[in-house]
């Protein structure tokens, strides 16, 4: 081989950088494009003679003004946040004890049940949404935010339980043993010792549950029919049109707001998520 | 002819100012068992990895069989390496592991199997061929790692602390197997360890290293009886050599087993007589370790250790000092500042 070892290493490093940059551009380009479109004047956007990568006219905040002033976008943000908070609450109340029970109190059939619970996460909304639409209607929840508040935990609970199981398993059981020797009941040991210790893991679960809520589309589309009650995920692609016309400027502005903040949060907590997820699957 | 040679071999990692390996000159002999001994951070593993080609030297030369190999990949150097964890391929069977290097060489199947049979026969693991690494015990894994190494008929074996992952009990028998293996096969072995007992037991020669520098190279007897500096003197031997300061520029050393009750040391010359007050004794079955202080004289108050065979029955009560002595030839003298060995001096 004509290349020396040092040369080969430099070449491989250059290739690695090239691949990384290429992929990063390809994957993040739509968001960059959303950002540019948000601030471009409509006349600039729809003028085919202009170079779309440049601002031919001065940037504008018009689309943002339109978005917040004349559409239901703010309403959707509120709906989504409210639903998210409630779903997170319900999920934690049910998943925390369940995860603890599976991690500590159930032994071998607990292991299998844990896997079973996780498998329910794989049952897709596109299979259940038709019967669920009937269930929601019969409960009188159709076209309200409550329909999704009730239904979403059906997939956030399995996911969170499995994740929390991993976090709990990484805590040495000796801590609870010591607490019980000191006089606490098992449940008290759980509530007063394990939960506070796992706060960072619980926070991770909160973030991921919230993102699951914001990302959901099918149920919200199926159960909620009026624009005012919708979530951001459905409202933006479906209702930010007037007739057949897409108002791309405001639409992209909405996309930016709906995606980038979550992106930051997710990236922050990803390492902890991976730790919990790999711990949960290693025996 | 020297099998492995290094000249001025140095490795500095980017951030550290002190070199991980500093200017090492080494020459291994044909068929010898050479041990690289030192505490963690001494650079012994880095040195081994540079010889293997897994680490690139900052400066200096490595020769194998007389040929400069600095720019050669590990594959081209015809060396075999046994890692601390054995690095067995978990998804391959024992047979698969052993023939893997032969496959990489392009050896035809029939020859591969013959070689594998020879290697497994040599190590007595023929019955394990179909098993996967996770089904094997620690000792069996070591043997598989050795079989995989020997099957390529390398010019030198490199071993990185292969016994440290084994149970203490298993270690002694695994050690013996390794020694026998090397003697039978006759290939040069360079063996890294921090355990001085392993080094003394197995090595034909020992390279004692500390902080990246070679302190001494010699046979076990040489490094033990004739240490080049205070580091070597205290690193080898357990309990370590007693070191006592004598005057502004001299340190005197004597090993615990040479610190004996008066009249029992090796005759010849003028023994150094000291009064020893023992305040603590450990009974280890075959021997007794006595911890205490020297009383009176220029070394008054210095802590020392004595080591007697248990067959010597006399009790040394705490509280009263006894007459002890060290034979003249068992006294070693060191420069107080540099720690290096000096000639015999008069004691103040």
């Amino acid at each position: 081989m004509a290349l020396s070892r040092r040369g080969l290493r430099r070449l491989s490093r250059a290739v690695r950088w090239a691949v990384l940059v290429l992929f990063s551009i390809a994957l993040s380009f739509p968001f960059y494009w959303m950002l540019i479109t948000t601030f471009k004047r409509t006349t600039d956007l729809y003028n085919l003679k202009n170079n779309p990568f440049l601002f031919a006219e001065r940037p504008t905040l018009e689309h943002l003004r339109l978005l917040f002033g004349e559409t239901l976008f703010l309403r959707w943000l509120i709906n989504t946040t409210l639903a998210g908070a409630l779903v997170v609450l319900i999920t934690l109340v049910l998943a925390l004890p369940a995860a603890y029970a599976l991690a500590r109190l159930t032994g071998r059939w607990g292991e299998r049940l844990g896997i079973g619970i996780f498998l329910t996460y794989l049952v897709p909304p596109t299979l259940l949404f038709i019967p669920l639409s009937r269930v929601v209607a019969s409960l009188g929840l159709q076209d309200t935010i409550w329909s999704i508040v009730v239904v979403y935990p059906s997939f956030t609970i399995p996911f969170s339980t499995w994740l929390l199981m991993g976090f709990f398993k990484s805590i040495p059981p000796e801590l609870e043993d010591a607490a019980m020797v000191d006089g606490l009941t098992r449940f008290q040991a759980f509530a007063r010792l394990v939960v506070p210790i796992s706060l960072s893991g619980i926070l991770t679960v909160v973030i991921f549950t919230f993102t699951l809520v914001t990302q959901e589309f099918v149920y919200a589309l199926t159960f909620i029919s009026s624009a005012a009650h919708q979530t951001v995920g459905v409202g933006v692609p479906i209702y930010l049109v007037r007739g057949d016309v897409y108002y791309w400027g405001s639409l992209m502005a909405a996309c930016v707001i709906a995606s980038l903040p979550i992106g930051f949060l997710y990236n922050l907590f990803l390492d902890r998520f991976i730790a919990g997820f790999t711990f949960g699957s290693v025996k | 002819m020297a099998v492995v040679e290094t000249r001025g071999l140095t490795k500095t990692f980017k951030r550290g100012q002190v070199g991980a390996v500093q200017n090492v000159d080494l020459e291994s002999r044909e068929g010898e068992f050479l041990v690289l001994l030192g505490p963690s951070g001494s650079g012994k593993t880095t040195l081994l990895r540079m010889i293997a080609g897994l680490e690139e030297p900052t400066s200096g030369e490595i020769r194998i069989g007389g040929v400069v190999v600095n720019d050669m990949t590990p594959r081209e150097r015809r060396i075999a390496m046994v890692f601390q964890s054995y690095a067995l391929y978990p998804h391959l069977t024992v047979l698969g592991n052993i023939v893997f290097p032969l496959k990489a060489q392009g050896m035809p199947k029939a020859d591969r199997e013959k070689r594998a049979e020879w290697a497994t026969g040599l190590l007595g693991i023929g019955h394990l061929m179909g098993r996967k690494p996770r089904e094997l015990s620690g000792g069996e894994r070591q043997r598989v790692a050795l079989a995989r190494a020997i099957v390529r008929e390398p010019s030198v074996f490199l071993l990185d602390e292969p016994l440290s992952n084994l149970d203490a009990k298993l270690r002694a028998s695994a050690r013996e197997e390794l020694e026998q293996f090397q003697r039978r096969v006759g290939t040069t072995m360079i063996y890294v360890t921090h355990d001085q007992i392993e080094a003394m037991a197995m090595g034909d020669r020992v390279v004692v290293m500390n902080l990246g520098k070679v302190r001494q190279i010699g046979t076990p007897a040489e490094v033990y009886d004739d240490p080049a500096d205070t580091f070597v003197a205290t690193f080898l031997g357990s309990p370590p050599m007693n070191l006592v300061e004598s005057g502004p520029s001299v340190v005197v050393g004597f090993r615990p087993e040479h610190f004996r009750p008066a009249g029992t040391s090796t005759p010849g010359g003028r023994p150094l007589r000291l009064k020893f007050r023992c305040d603590h004794e450990e009974y280890l079955g075959a021997e007794r370790i006595l911890y205490g202080l020297i009383e009176g004289g220029p070394f008054d108050g210095k802590k020392v250790v004595a080591r007697l065979a248990s067959t010597y029955g006399e009790r040394f009560l705490a509280g009263s000092a006894s007459d002890f002595e060290v034979a003249e030839k068992d006294l070693k003298f060191f420069d107080r500042e540099k720690g290096t060995r000096t000639d015999r001096v008069a004691l103040t």
Binding site: M34, A98, T126, V218, C255, I262 | F83, Y89
Partner: protein
Amino acid sequence: MSRSRQRWLGPVMLLPAIVYVLALVGVPFILAFFYAVGDVKVGSTAYHFVGLQNFRSVLENPTFRRALRNSFVFTIISQALVMVGGNILALTLKDAFRGRRLFRFLILLPWVAPVSIGSIGWKWILDSLYSVINWVLVSLHLVKPLDVPMWLGQPTLAMISVILVHTWHVLPFTTVILLAGWTSIPRDIPEAAAVDGAGYFRTLFQITLPMLLPIINVALLFGVIFTFTDMTVIYILTRGGPYDTTQVLPSLAFFTGILGSDLAEGAAISLFLVPLLGVVAWLMLRTAHRAEVT
């Protein structure tokens, strides 16, 4: 604390979650079967058993057969791309370097952002008039201005667009999982392979990839489920068009059952997802058994 009290604490802590999930997953699941063999319609509570009639009419529908085929084509192609791309990306991200966090953030965006948002973003990029891709192609003189590709309007191109958007969306997720696998390979295994004389490709294909197989399985199975059962990308990009050429099972079920109000037929269509889910679940359980993190 008495033994008997200890023994029921576990089940009690577990029960609420199980009941909730069973009620909202198990019950609808069973209901789906009932609907598929009945004649349920929106707005009416009548129910008559009709046997396999719904399934028969569904299977005879050419749109359904097209959707079934599309489901497989989209999933297989996008997962193949995701597997190759994910491994390549994981390799570049495996070793720490400055700025890795920034790249990771950029790479994660397609997965983190709601898929509906990402899809509508792509819709703008692929717009028939204002597509930035077309502008680039025209300025590079690769296509004539009046002859630009109709990314979402022409059947073959629409299918390609949908596959690419699916791939774009799932790639970060798969990369993260594969990355966890790549970083779990002990450093001395590839070193031993190097000493044993294996070159780059032999080490890759005979040592590292086989060791990664359990993780690859997990990533693949998740990816298959996410792609096969997704309707969002298609709903937003093409609404299943042009002329139902990009329909897949889930989107067809939605159009039939919800928009078309034929709950029974919609349920029947969506039930065709079950065999695939069953196979995937079985494969996952098998790899979970064999998964060995060294």
